[in-house]
Each structure stands twice: as structure tokens, then as C-alpha cells.
Point group: D2
Amino acid sequence: MLPNAPENRSLWPMPINYDRTVHFADTDAAGVVFFANYLTICHEAYEESLAASGIDLKGFFADHGIVIPIVKSEADYLRPLSCGDKLRVTVKPALLSEDSYEIRYEITRLGRSAKSAAHVRTEHVCIDSGTRARRALPGAMSDWVRAG
Amino acid sequence: MLPNAPENRSLWPMPINYDRTVHFADTDAAGVVFFANYLTICHEAYEESLAASGIDLKGFFADHGIVIPIVKSEADYLRPLSCGDKLRVTVKPALLSEDSYEIRYEITRLGRSAKSAAHVRTEHVCIDSGTRARRALPGAMSDWVRAG
Amino acid sequence: MLPNAPENRSLWPMPINYDRTVHFADTDAAGVVFFANYLTICHEAYEESLAASGIDLKGFFADHGIVIPIVKSEADYLRPLSCGDKLRVTVKPALLSEDSYEIRYEITRLGRSAKSAAHVRTEHVCIDSGTRARRALPGAMSDWVRAG
Amino acid sequence: MLPNAPENRSLWPMPINYDRTVHFADTDAAGVVFFANYLTICHEAYEESLAASGIDLKGFFADHGIVIPIVKSEADYLRPLSCGDKLRVTVKPALLSEDSYEIRYEITRLGRSAKSAAHVRTEHVCIDSGTRARRALPGAMSDWVRAG
């Protein structure tokens, strides 16, 4: 246990599941979710997980000198998703260095027989928004990653 | 009471509230929800309400000969919305004729003091997707509108 | 001629037409453009028109104390639009007061016989982003509106 | 030269560049283009390239028995993009097998000193939409890929 970990933050009940219904606006003329929207759905799960850890989203995503942009994304699309489908997204962050982390997402289509619909991975680097130089992750963020 | 109303459909528990958190992807570089996305959020509430009445969304929004496109929208934007804001959307449909209905939406930003954030209204007309001629609403849809 | 009009700004060649192809991402599972995306397409035309008048978009849409949010939108959807359709959007701004203006858009689907696809109207009010109090339009903006 | 290549399709002037201005709706509250929208912009370039080869987009992206979904995407985000930025997207397809191809995209931010803003790669597999079994690419598509 880290001696200065305030109140065992890493033991906070971080939600690892985000449930989401497929909306009509997620779909395209092929009748299923547009490929880029799988990434958008994963980002929603990331936001929910941050919010559940007590991180203020409005401040987090605005530019206050330190920003943590996504520098890489990878997705395997395994299954088409239709309007009304019920999804569960799991969020698994892991530190890559003191200034970066990855998140692995699994999108599952729920129903009589739940099926994996996509694997997604994003990579995030903490930088100074003015100079674009790398900066160590703020404490609340490295706590969130470690709790994942 | 309509003599042939099967099992009092109009008494089904239609949800009148749709709760939704503002996502990062809803926002734009002004830091708040992009104006067109208020309409998208209302459409999600419409979908949830249809699904709760037992209407299959995948079939409903696909083109199976009869479609019910939106022919008009109106929105009053009263308040900016930020990432992480908690919203409640109420959905109030009303028949305009045997082949058309309107929906009135109220978007409220929840919190210590809940505030109205937008009024939105859409108008829907039932047509034959081939000829574009007007068609009477299918029974399940007029039931949904009447239950609103 | 206004005595203090710098370099005849109002005579600048303001583009009144914005040409745009319908993209796959604009469509939904009904096979046609999602209703809220008609508004997004009109906003693109607004941006192009501002840029053509020499207004810096990056600065314009960021929050620098004075912002000009959309307070109302109205749309009549006359015709479905499909992926690959060629559109022309006309932009007609008009002053409503010293701190507000409206824009009327006409979306035409080009082709052998051009057809009107939608009428859209937005209303914009200039405010102090801190206090939300109304403020007179900046000179460059009232010039742009008057040139429309 | 392929003996049965009708009218030297592979010599058709396939556009390899797609020029695009960053729109306000592409951005998020961090003030720059949302990461998933880089993929959407690449898909627009793909569509433009197909259309320029004479492929009908409305038919191509609808489900007519044979569909060519994206099964994988990868993106390296090198630089933030702001509203009003001028982009050029290059599209380089390559066959992976008789039923699949990849596309490599390069997004460049134009201006006094043009800079690479992202590398994106997508992988596409041709399948029967009913059985999901792999099918050989239709001739027009393998021509398009070979011409890239």
C-alpha cells in the first residue's frame, strides 16, 4: 500500500461496466453502427468510469494547461450492431509510463447469447498543452489507472 | 375505450422520462453541446419510449414500405450544457391527424437547482416509402401516441 | 457607402453557396440523412461563409468573453437525402436587433432536376459568456450579416 | 494489361487527394477534432475516391447481399486539428487477398508549413450479408483497389 494514498482511493468502487443501448444516430445506411462510433461509445465508457472515481469531467476535458490526448487507437470490429441492441462495455486501463496509459475496451452485445462485438484499445499521453512536452500524470489520473 | 384495444395497451407503463449524461462527443469547441445534438438527444428519448412500449426499434426505423419521417423540427435552446451534466428528457406525443403526430420534448439539466435547458418539437408523417403518399399510422404507433 | 466602412467590407465577395456531398456518416439505418444532420450541414455553410469574409473560425467559435450561441432552430424536411447526393446550401443572414440575427438556409439537392430538400432557420444572440447578458454584435459580425 | 479490362479502368484518373476543411461539429470541448472523427474524415475520402471511379455510393453502402464492412482500424494521432484548418487526405488501397483489402490514409494539415496530422489504416472484408461468409471482391472493387 502506498503510504500517502489518501483514503485508499484505489479501493473505490470503480465501475468496470458501462451499459448502453444502440441509438438510431449511431447507425448508418448499411443499417448498423458506423465504425467510428464504436470508438465514441468506448469514450463514453471512459467518461463514466472517470466520473465514478470522482473526477470532474467538465474540468478534465477542457484545456487547463495539462491535457491527456489520445495518441493511438486500434479496433477490431467483430459483429454488426443494430438500433436497440443492448451493449456492455468493459474498461481496463493500464499504465505504460509515468506520463502515459492505455485503455482496453471490450464491447459485448447482450441478449440470449451474449457475444463479443469489438475489442478497442486507446493510448493516452499527458502533455503540457502549450509546449506539447510530456508531463507526469496528475495524481487523480494515475490513481484511476491503477484502480482499473 | 376502444372496443378492440388489445389488453389496454394505453395503460402500459410508458416511460415519460429519459435520463442521459452529456458525453464529450456531444460537445464542440465552444465547450458545450453542439446545437444539433440537442435534437439527437431527444431522438434517443423517443427511441427509449418506443422500446418501452414493446416496439422493435430495429424493424421500426428500417424501411419496410411504411416509414414515419420527421418533417419538421423546432428547438429553443435555453441553456448551455457541459460534459458530465445530467439531463432528464420528457417525451409528450400527440396526434395531429390519422397519419401524423407531434412530439414535445423538454430537456432539463438536473442538479441542485434543476433548470430547463431546451424545448424541442418534432412533427412526424406516416408515408409509403415508395410513392411518398400518406398512410394511416400503424396501430402500434397510434397506440403509442395516445398513451403519451 | 458608409463613411467608416473599412475597405468596403460589405462589398467583399461573400459566397452565398456552399456545395457539399452527402457522406455515409450523415446517414442512418433508414438509408437517408439523419434529421439533426441537416442542421449540421447548414452550420458548415455558415462557417464557410464566415471564413470567406475573413473571419477566423478558430477564434470565432472559441469562448473569448463574447459568444454568439444559437437560441432557436426551425427546419422543414422536404426530401430524403442519400449518400453521394450533391447538395447546394444557400445562406441568407439578416439582423434582428443590434445584438441578434437570423440565418435562413435553403438546401437544394442538385442533379438532373434540382429539388429543394429543406428550409432551415437559426437565430443567434450575442452575449457575454460570463454574465449571459446581451452584447452588441462585434463590427465584423454585423458587417457579415449586412453583406448577406 | 489484363485482356478483359474494360476500357482501361485501372488508368482512370483516380483522385488520391481529398481536401476538407475542419468543421465546428468535428470538434469537442478540448477545442480540437474528436479522435473518432479522424476516422470519419478518412471514410469521406474513401467515398470520394470510390465515386470518382464511377462507383455508385448509394448502392455501394446499402446492403444488397454482398457487403464490405471494416473489420479493423488503426490510427496514430500526431497533431490536434482546429475548426477552419485545411486538410488533405491521401487514400492508398492495397489488396490483402481476393476477398479483402486495406486502405492507408495520411491526413496532412495544410498551411505555411504542411504537417502530417494522422496516419490511419482500415481493413475491409467482403462477405455475404446473410451468412457472413467471405466472398470474392466484386470486379469494380478489385479494379478500384488495384488502381490505388
